[in-house]
């Protein structure tokens, strides 16, 4: 029988699901203001870096993604990567919601249907044990 998810795992994945998409949405807003930077030659790269790093939405996005990264590191210290990555996929739904409500992006019906399928997939993954090594040991 699958072990129920620990509260700590649920909390960390919730932080990942909110902070990750919010970071991407903020970066998107910032990068739309900056425009596609010229990454080459080296002078262009430095100019691009200066433009990107002077945008406040980019910094807010980076802060949000750092929060996501720390939660990701902590959960990866005891749960398998193949569990963590799909479980955090609800972020796809959240990013579409943020794109729609915050950035005014058009999201088609097919895309919303896809989000529903993602949620089902997340539920299936959430039913599996977050630590395969422990599962195999305790089942002996």
């Amino acid at each position: 029988m699958a072990r129920p998810l620990h509260l700590r795992t649920v909390l960390l994945i919730a932080v990942m699901v909110i902070a990750g998409p919010l970071g991407n949405a903020l970066l998107s807003k910032g990068m739309k203001q900056v425009g596609m930077p010229a990454f080459w030659p080296i002078g262009g790269l430095l100019h691009a870096a200066a433009l990107i790093l002077s945008n406040k939405f980019v910094w807010l996005g980076i802060a949000s993604l750092l929060t996501f990264f720390i939660a990701n590191l902590l959960v990866l210290s005891y749960a398998d990567y193949s569990f963590v990555q799909p479980a955090s996929s609800a972020a796809y739904g959240v990013v579409a919601l943020l794109g729609y409500f915050l950035l005014g992006e058009h999201v088609s019906l097919l895309r919303w249907a896809g989000i529903a399928v993602i949620c089902v997939g997340v539920l299936v993954v959430g039913r599996t044990n977050p630590r395969t090594e422990t599962a195999s040991l305790t089942s002996v």
Partner: protein, 124 residues
């Protein structure tokens, strides 16, 4: 062409980076609490492992590719396309980290990937 290169780098470098970080974190051991000192201790222990730096380098490449893609396309288009990393991630977990991936988990990964693909197809 540019779109293909950007998404390739986001998916391949991003997944490769996460796998490297995951491998490093397995060597640091489990975080015992959410206390800042404990979090810092785990991160510093991870910083001594070469896999962590390899992971960070790959994730940096993926991040700048993501910035480039976000400057051109909608976030609700860019992020779903990166779902190809689910396939790369599951295969990488199995082959690189030697993790056991259960049948049920494979079904979940497949459903998530199908869903995200629909999101991608419905871009118009």
């Amino acid at each position: 062409m540019l779109q293909g290169v950007l998404f390739f780098l986001i998916v391949v470098a991003g997944t490769g980076g996460e796998l490297c970080v995951s491998r490093a974190m397995k060597q640091t051991g489990e975080a015992k609490s959410f206390h800042p000192a404990e979090i810092l201790r785990v991160i510093l222990r991870g910083a001594r492992i070469p896999w962590m730096w390899m992971g960070i380098a790959l994730m940096t490449v993926a991040f700048f590719s993501l910035l480039g893609a976000l400057s051109l396309y909608a976030v609700s288009f860019v992020v779903p396309v990166t779902a190809l990393s689910y396939l790369a991630g599951a295969l990488g977990s199995k082959l690189f980290l030697k993790e056991e991936v259960s049948k049920e988990r494979w079904i979940g990964v497949l459903l998530v990937t199908v869903g995200v693909t629909l999101v991608f197809l419905g871009k118009h």
